[in-house]
């Protein structure tokens, strides 16, 4: 049994929340470089250059890449040999509160979806926990903005709709989203499970490295096929026309019911932010 102090979790979450908002990961920066080189649309290239310059400014000034510093989505993997001296959720919320306040990050959360009073500290976070073997605590923070989240969709297809049905739904989602989701996008697709599991898989797939390939070669092939189809829509950077509508497509799958084929498409804007630490 390993002891981890809540105070340490709070400090690390606060720091991580800021880093996630200030510094884009290298895989994303490389993908943006490549897109700027390959984009054939002139407005598209101009926009990609602005996005790259913006990332440099944010990193050098320690300011958020995007003013929408999002809902703080937190993924936790906690080893079953870890003992905490306090409440894990409270420690995380305290870290989000501290990180968003001290980092001059925008507070974008309203306490009630209908009466809509801002909580003033960007809590509550959305926290997903997984219990795993071992004595470590892994924390991933993925701030998620409203623009691309609003354009995300979920559907319950018929099993007979198959891959074609999934592809059509993904493309339709991208076309409906257009400029609103802030392309170039990172597209997370969850297939299978049930209603909420597919949405969780779609969100989780956004944490993968942009350069990686799915372990299942068939799924990896489907990711490539979807990316190609998405980039034929013509939507382009910021929806102003071009061939870079998405930088990557990530798919996660799970067993499902004989009657079901759930599909969730979680869109991420080009500011696909996430940072991880292991305690």
């Amino acid at each position: 049994m390993r002891e981890i102090r809540s105070a340490e979790i709070t400090e690390k979450v606060a720091k991580l929340a800021q880093e996630a908002n200030f510094y884009l990961n290298d895989d994303l920066l490389n993908a943006l470089d490549k897109a700027a080189e390959e984009e054939i649309s002139e407005p598209g290239r101009y926009i990609l250059e602005q996005i790259k310059e913006n990332a440099q400014i944010a990193a050098s000034e320690n300011v958020p890449v995007c003013q929408d510093t999002g809902v703080a989505v937190v993924f936790i993997k906690i080893g079953n040999d870890v003992h905490l001296d306090g409440d894990l959720y409270e420690a995380i919320e305290a870290g989000i509160r501290k990180g968003y306040s001290e980092g001059y990050l925008r507070k974008s959360i309203v306490a009630d979806p209908l009466s809509r009073q801002n909580t003033g500290d960007n809590t509550p976070a959305i926290i997903h926990t997984e219990i795993v073997p071992g004595d470590q605590l892994e924390i991933v923070i993925a701030p998620k903005g409203g623009g691309s989240e609003n354009m995300s969709r979920i559907t319950m297809l018929k099993p007979g709709d198959g891959k074609t049905g999934v592809k059509d739904f993904v493309i339709e989602t991208i076309e409906k989203a257009g400029a609103n989701a802030c392309p170039p996008l990172v597209v997370g697709v969850g297939i299978g499970g049930n209603f909420e599991k597919s949405a969780y898989l779609a969100k989780k797939s956004l944490l993968r490295d942009l350069d990686d390939h799915h372990a299942d070669p068939e799924i990896a092939k489907f990711e490539a096929e979807l990316l190609e189809a998405i980039n034929k829509t013509g939507i382009g950077p910021q929806g102003m026309g071009g061939r870079t509508t998405a930088l990557a497509v990530k798919i996660e799958v799970f067993a499902t019911h004989i009657a079901q084929l759930p599909v969730a498409v979680n869109l991420n804007c080009h500011a696909a932010r996430h940072k991880k630490i292991i305690i």
């Binding site: 407005p43 913006n54 300011v63 003013q67 001059y104 990050l105 802030c182 034929k232 061939r243």
Partner: protein, 181 residues
């Protein structure tokens, strides 16, 4: 192309979709909650906290300013959410809006009738855009936090014309141009 606020008719006439514009002068920020309040005031026949004639509204909820800065990161939010509020503002003489993403058909028609334009700023280029904001002051609804109405002084704010006076739409034309069947 450099243009200044308040927007003059001769400047508006020159703008064509896809034009890159560097905007300077005073602009006002407002998003969902502030729009709701403005429209209620107009419906009640009351005075507004900001002028609209010839003015430009930027759809933004900025991040808080660090102590050494006038404003935090300040990129555009998605404009369609303001479509249900914009018509009375256009009737009051609003000449330009800045956001991201397409406007509804009715908003495009009314913008054209009222001779107003719609600009996009690059969504997510929020730290870069903040550099063009030289002054920021809350002028209404401070209780709304990031959604308060701010008066901004901007210098060479980088924008792209999306809807011009001729009724063209950059999003539609851009997508058609690069689509592969």
């Amino acid at each position: 192309m450099h243009i200044k606020t308040p927007l003059a008719e001769k400047d508006l006439e020159k703008l064509k979709i896809g034009d890159r514009v560097l905007l300077s002068g005073t602009i006002y920020t407002a998003r969902d909650a502030a729009h709701e309040k403005l429209v209620k005031l107009i419906e009640a026949g009351k005075d507004l906290p900001i002028p609209l004639s010839g003015q430009v509204i930027y759809y933004v909820g900025p991040a808080p300013a660090k102590p050494d800065k006038v404003i935090g990161s300040a990129g555009p939010t998605t404009s369609y959410r303001m479509d249900s509020f914009i018509l009375p503002l256009l009737e009051k003489g609003l000449k330009g809006t800045i956001g991201k993403g397409p406007r509804s058909k009715i908003v495009r028609e009314v913008m054209q009738n009222q001779q107003a334009v719609y600009f996009a700023a690059v969504g997510g280029a929020a730290a870069l855009i903040a550099r063009s904001i030289k002054k920021a002051e809350i002028v209404a609804y401070p209780e709304l936090g990031p959604e308060a109405i701010r008066k901004l002084e901007v210098e060479e704010m980088p924008l792209i014309v999306v809807n011009d006076l001729a009724g063209n739409d950059l999003y539609q034309q851009g997508r058609t141009k690069y689509k592969i069947d």
